[in-house]
């Protein structure tokens, strides 16, 4: 661990005040912030452990406890609250036998509550691994958990009628990213420029929400974080948020129908977020 942390610190050398980005990288690597890692960060940066611990406990996106494979967030914002979110959160607690903020014993689920996801009209909202469930009632909780165990992506592609085609464009120049000539999953693909290890080439994604089919000019190792660029204006498509699953940067694209879609930039990671209200922009 020591050498890994040293590597992360080296990367951030020079940017004073880069503690948060350092901690983000540490969390991306271990999925949480191990105590030992924080000590190495303290030694390496010359900051005191108290300060680092203070920052790590201040932000909700940092976790000091190992997190489960699946992250289940129940919205308890005002709108979802009045529509019965507390009952749903309670039902999740019962079904998973883990209280809010905790991880199940088998390390499968981490349950947490969030305050408003910007989709109030569809509430109560539950998000599991970046998949949105709307108008949830407590009798659906069991199904959601079961679906997650099976593998949300499979379940969605086969059965979810929310699966649909989306047309996306660059969030900067608004040029369409659709490539009708190159089909993936039988529909026009989304074409972007991908850059990794100093190689640039095209990358085509399936335009079906929930499908993770990808083709690229150069093979990309799984777990590799790829930089996405608009092939027209060459803007970096990286968005402001981090992947809820692996913490890599998310890539944001505009959905023609309104809103944005965000996908994880790590090859093989299933982090997807569709935000049709565009409240996250």
């Amino acid at each position: 661990m020591k050498t890994e942390i040293a590597g992360i610190l080296e990367k951030h050398e020079g940017d004073r005040g880069g503690l948060i980005s350092i901690l983000e990288d540490v969390q991306a690597r271990y999925s949480y912030l191990p105590a030992e890692a924080l000590k190495f960060v303290a030694d390496g940066t010359g900051r005191s452990l108290v300060d680092i611990y203070g920052v790590a406990t201040f932000y909700k996106s940092f976790s000091l406890k190992p997190r489960g494979k699946h992250l289940c967030s129940v919205c308890v914002g005002t709108a979802c609250h009045v529509r019965g979110a507390p009952v749903i959160a309670g039902e999740f607690e019962r079904q998973l036998d883990a209280s809010v903020g905790a991880t199940t014993e088998d390390n499968e689920f981490t349950l947490e509550t969030v305050n408003c996801l910007g989709a109030c009209a569809l509430g109560p909202i539950v998000v599991v691994d970046g998949h949105y469930f709307s108008n949830v009632n407590s009798s659906q909780v069991k199904r959601i958990i079961k679906k997650t165990h099976v593998g949300l992506d499979e379940a969605e592609i086969k059965a979810d009628r929310r699966l649909y085609l989306h047309t996306v464009s660059c969030s900067r120049c608004n040029h369409s990213l659709m490539d009708p000539d190159h089909k993936i999953d039988g529909s026009p693909s989304v074409r972007v420029t991908a850059s990794f290890e100093r190689k640039h080439g095209w990358l085509r994604l399936s335009s079906l929400y929930g499908s993770f089919a990808v083709e690229s000019e150069y093979p990309i190792r799984s777990d590799e974080i790829v930089d996405f660029f608009c092939p027209h204006c060459h803007t970096d498509l990286k968005g402001a948020s981090a992947c809820p699953l692996c913490n890599a940067p998310m890539v944001a694209m505009l959905v023609r129908a309104g809103g944005i879609v965000q996908i994880c930039s790590r090859r093989g990671c299933k982090g997807h977020m569709l935000d049709l209200d565009g409240a996250g922009v």
């Binding site: 924080l38 108290v50 201040f58």
Partner: protein, 225 residues
């Protein structure tokens, strides 16, 4: 030099002087809780509020952190200021009624009751202990953690700190602690405050439930394993 007017009196002070220092220099008393000479100003308790400015733009500021400005007009004890102070004291009493320091301040300001939900906090987050630890003891063994409702003071990971010098400085300055730490000699307690105490350290098992961060504690010699 900076010239300002406090309660109608002209005073000139050096650049960087706080309103609190300037007022005290003139002999106007301003109560404080989280302020301590030798520690950096923190502005947590708001007990030291004074009113500055005039007319509709007059506003309340914490005098311990507000630097003197040329031509400033300051009132340290008008009706608005006294009301605000009473409110602060009521809130402090609501969160930490067992503190002798808060009790004394409340009684000095004629606050006899409080209207809020009664709590019995161990800590009012005044930050005296962390500043003591960092600035006078150069230890940085304790600090703030979390935020909002769950903000608290403690050592990283709530385990024995390797940096702690066991100096006792943190309990010495803690306004919430002074009464409770007579536990091992209960007869020394000055008032009936003990009736409200949360169970003292000897009856606790987790390090993070303990009321101070020293291990072993220099005051009562409890060893928190």
């Amino acid at each position: 030099m900076i010239n300002l007017k406090i309660n109608g009196l002209e005073v000139s002070v050096e650049q960087g002087t706080t309103l609190l220092e300037a007022a005290r220099f003139l002999g106007f008393p301003i109560p404080t809780l989280c302020h301590m000479e030798g520690l950096s100003p923190y502005g947590a308790c708001r007990l030291c509020v004074v009113e500055i400015g005039e007319g509709p733009r007059a506003k309340l500021v914490s005098s311990c952190t507000y630097p003197a400005q040329e031509g400033l007009v300051v009132r340290t004890a008008n009706e608005r200021v006294l009301q605000a102070r009473k409110m602060v004291l009521e809130l402090l009493l609501a969160s930490c009624p067992q503190s002798k320091v808060i009790q004394d301040l409340a009684s000095a300001h004629n606050v006899r009751q409080q209207r809020f939900r009664q709590e019995h906090e161990d800590c009012i987050l005044c930050g005296l202990c962390t500043r003591m630890c960092e600035e006078q003891m150069m230890a940085k063994a304790i600090g703030f953690r979390g935020r909002g409702e769950t903000r608290s003071i403690g050592t990283p990971f709530d385990i024995k700190s390797e940096e702690c010098r066991l100096c006792g400085g943190c309990i010495y300055v803690c306004p919430a602690c002074q009464l409770r730490c007579t536990y091992t000699e209960p007869d020394k307690a000055v008032c009936g405050g003990c009736a409200n105490l949360s169970p003292p350290c000897v009856e606790k098992e987790n390090f993070d439930d303990m009321m101070c961060y020293m291990n072993p504690c220099v005051a009562c010699e409890i060893d928190k394993h």
